[in-house]
């Protein structure tokens, strides 16, 4: 997006300039998304009869699903902001420099394998990746971590094994395809990424001498949570809208074609925005589809979905979120197809 027109006389570090940037960056995206949500809701209301809007079963189901996605994601979002706040306030920047290989091309696969350690769903990984970048980790490695953490952590792999009893190759395929996608996206960012797409909000960057670390931790945590929480609500509303308006019978029309079914389940994962710890159960229930199509659902879902796009737009900027999510979706489908052909 275009730069906010800050008066040229103000130096960029002037408080007014920073406030102007911070105040304008968020509301523009919020306004657009808010208008879209309002229009969608009004559209449903118009279809159902405006007077019956507030009591119609569809609107109540929409409310329930919005609240459900929020309540379900809150603990994980808090965990993620807690970790990212702690990284910001307590971990010195040079620690990450030592842990990751100096060569960014090597740091990418190491970071994507390190995704194993963050037990949570995708809501937790976005703020953590944001704080890693602020602490000097090369963005490519942070993005590889962002993509792999929700897909390959132990909780997710165990739930996949439970959902597909007697099919360990499904767990292996999910691990391989997710790791490959994360590493590929990291390398793609190294090769083609532009720093100007990243517009991280002007924010605290680590510990400033003289401030109480705990107080910095609290204010940073509060700010991160409120910011990400707002975008989470936005994503939850979008997912609920699709959940309520798109009939599931559409599923069956795509189940027969092997290629269309892969693309279709990938698209379904994006709009349904199911938590990565639950998506294996949903994938297992889609019995009409080929194993590769169901793998696509589980590989794309933790990496790209509506609430994630909203969260990323809030954390890294919209210009980044759209490009990154679109590229990730394409790479994830390609990796899924290859892995499925190899393992399934």
């Amino acid at each position: 997006m275009n730069e906010p027109d800050i008066p040229a006389a103000l130096p960029p570090t002037h408080p007014a300039a920073l406030h102007a940037r911070a105040d304008r960056a968020t509301p523009a995206s919020v306004r657009v998304a808010g208008v879209v949500s309002m229009l969608t809701v009004c559209g449903i209301g118009w279809a159902a009869g405006l007077d019956e809007l507030l009591t119609s079963a569809g609107f109540r189901a929409w409310q329930t699903i919005t609240v459900a996605v929020l309540v379900q994601a809150l603990p994980f979002l808090l965990l993620g902001t807690l970790v990212s706040g702690a990284v910001n306030a307590f971990v010195p920047a040079h620690v990450f420099g030592r842990m990751l290989p100096r060569n960014p091309a090597l740091a990418v696969p190491v970071a994507s394998a390190a995704g194993v350690v963050l037990p949570g769903c995708e809501c937790a990984s976005v703020p953590v990746a944001g704080s890693l970048i602020r602490r000097g980790v090369t963005p490519a490695a942070a993005f590889a971590f962002l993509l792999s953490a929700p897909a390959i952590n132990p909780v997710v792999l165990v739930s996949t094994a439970v959902a597909f009893p007697g099919a360990p190759e499904m767990v292996a395929a999910r691990l391989v395809a997710s790791l490959a996608t994360a590493a590929l996206m990291g390398w793609l960012w190294l090769r083609f990424g532009r720093a100007k797409w990243l517009r991280m909000p002007a924010r605290h960057s680590g510990h400033a001498p003289g401030n109480s670390r705990w107080e910095e931790f609290r204010t940073g945590f509060q700010h991160d949570f409120l910011h990400a929480g707002g975008f989470l609500v936005l994503g939850a509303m979008a997912a609920a809208t699709f959940n309520v308006t798109v009939p599931r019978s559409v599923l069956d029309t795509f189940a027969d074609s092997p290629w269309l079914s892969v693309l279709f389940l990938a698209a379904l994962a994006i709009v349904l925005a199911v938590c990565s710890e639950a998506d294996a159960f949903l994938a297992a229930s889609l019995t009409g589809f080929s194993p590769t199509a169901r793998l696509a659902f589980m590989v794309v879902g933790p990496m790209v979905d509506l609430k994630l796009i909203a969260l990323q737009a809030g954390t890294f900027g919209r210009a980044f979120a759209w490009r990154f999510s679109a590229a990730t979706a394409v790479v994830a489908v390609a990796c899924t197809a290859l892995t499925g052909w190899w393992l399934l």
Binding site: T26, V71, S212, T219, Q222, G230, L282, S285
Partner: protein
């Protein structure tokens, strides 16, 4: 969003989350049972964060203690807690006016002016206002559990593959979960349900032309991933949609029992209305 309002928002959200998870089981309308402890922890954290913020920033309404920053009411103009931090209201009266903190907290929240203004923490993100409607909804009018509207929208029928079935009790009506009833009809080769009276419970989903189904929704994580179980009900007029009922009846013999041709249906003998269970997505055999 001003700091005081951020704290109020956090307190409201925390209270709403605790109301549905700690003080009632309403959260089971939204998430599966296993997540409840985590939701409680999230509610406690939000409440603590908001309370801490209120303690630090003060409440967001104009108070009588406005002239806090003026040096003459300040008990110790500089470094009064001995921590060595710069005291904004003492050293920088111009900046001190911007704070609404009680004097005893001044030192903690008054970093040097550069870092104070270099961060936008004091003005929280506006997108956070989107958290307000769900927070109020949780606190005041928690949305109901998903019901017949969702079940009727052909969400996928849940099929659980059973390796083996425990033998049914020798006599009397058999209480079964809907999952087990559906699985026994289509997978149990011995067909032991033939002629047996079973007890099921679920809610009513009306169909076309006066037909109705006994349904349940089952979630694996939250309500967004619900799948339905439905049994065509015969022999009784449809109660109102979303009514929870306990029914006894026998399998309606259509198709071959133990194969996928077996109709998932029930001839109802008795029907009794029951209150909505606390955990509406947990498919269990009805108690006696």
């Amino acid at each position: 969003m001003r700091p005081g309002l951020q704290n109020v928002l956090l307190l409201l959200l925390g209270a709403g989350v605790l109301r549905i998870s700690l003080f009632s089981d309403i959260c089971l309308r939204y998430v599966k049972e296993g997540l409840q402890p985590y939701v409680v922890v999230a509610g406690l954290m939000l409440t603590a964060l908001g309370a801490l913020g209120v303690a630090r920033d003060g409440i967001p309404f104009p108070t009588r203690r406005q002239p806090v920053a003026s040096p003459d009411v300040h008990p110790h103009p500089a470094g009064h807690d001995g921590s060595g931090h710069g005291d904004a209201s003492g050293a920088e009266p111009g900046h001190g006016n911007g704070h609404r903190h009680a004097p005893e907290h001044d030192v903690d929240l008054a970093p040097d002016p550069a870092s104070e203004h270099g961060h936008d923490h004091s003005r929280g993100p506006r997108v956070a206002w989107l958290l307000l409607p769900p927070a109020l909804a949780l606190l005041l009018f928690a949305p109901p559990a998903l019901g017949s509207y969702t079940a009727a929208r052909d969400s996928p029928q849940l099929v659980v593959d059973y390796d083996s079935f425990t033998p049914l009790p020798a006599s009397g009506p058999v209480p079964l979960s809907m999952t087990e009833y559906v699985a026994r009809l289509q997978q149990e080769e011995s067909g032991s349900l033939k002629g047996r009276t079973v007890v099921l419970q679920g809610f009513v989903t009306p169909g076309k032309g006066g037909t109705w189904k006994l349904t349940r929704l089952v979630v694996s994580c939250c309500a967004a991933d619900s799948q339905s179980l439905s049994v065509a009900a015969h022999g009784r007029q449809a109660p109102p949609a979303d009514t929870w009922v306990r029914v006894t009846g026998t399998w309606r013999p259509e198709g071959t029992l133990g194969t996928t041709s077996a109709a998932i249906a029930l001839d109802i003998a008795t029907l009794e209305r029951i209150p909505e269970p606390a955990n509406p997505y947990l498919d269990r055999a009805p108690g006696r």
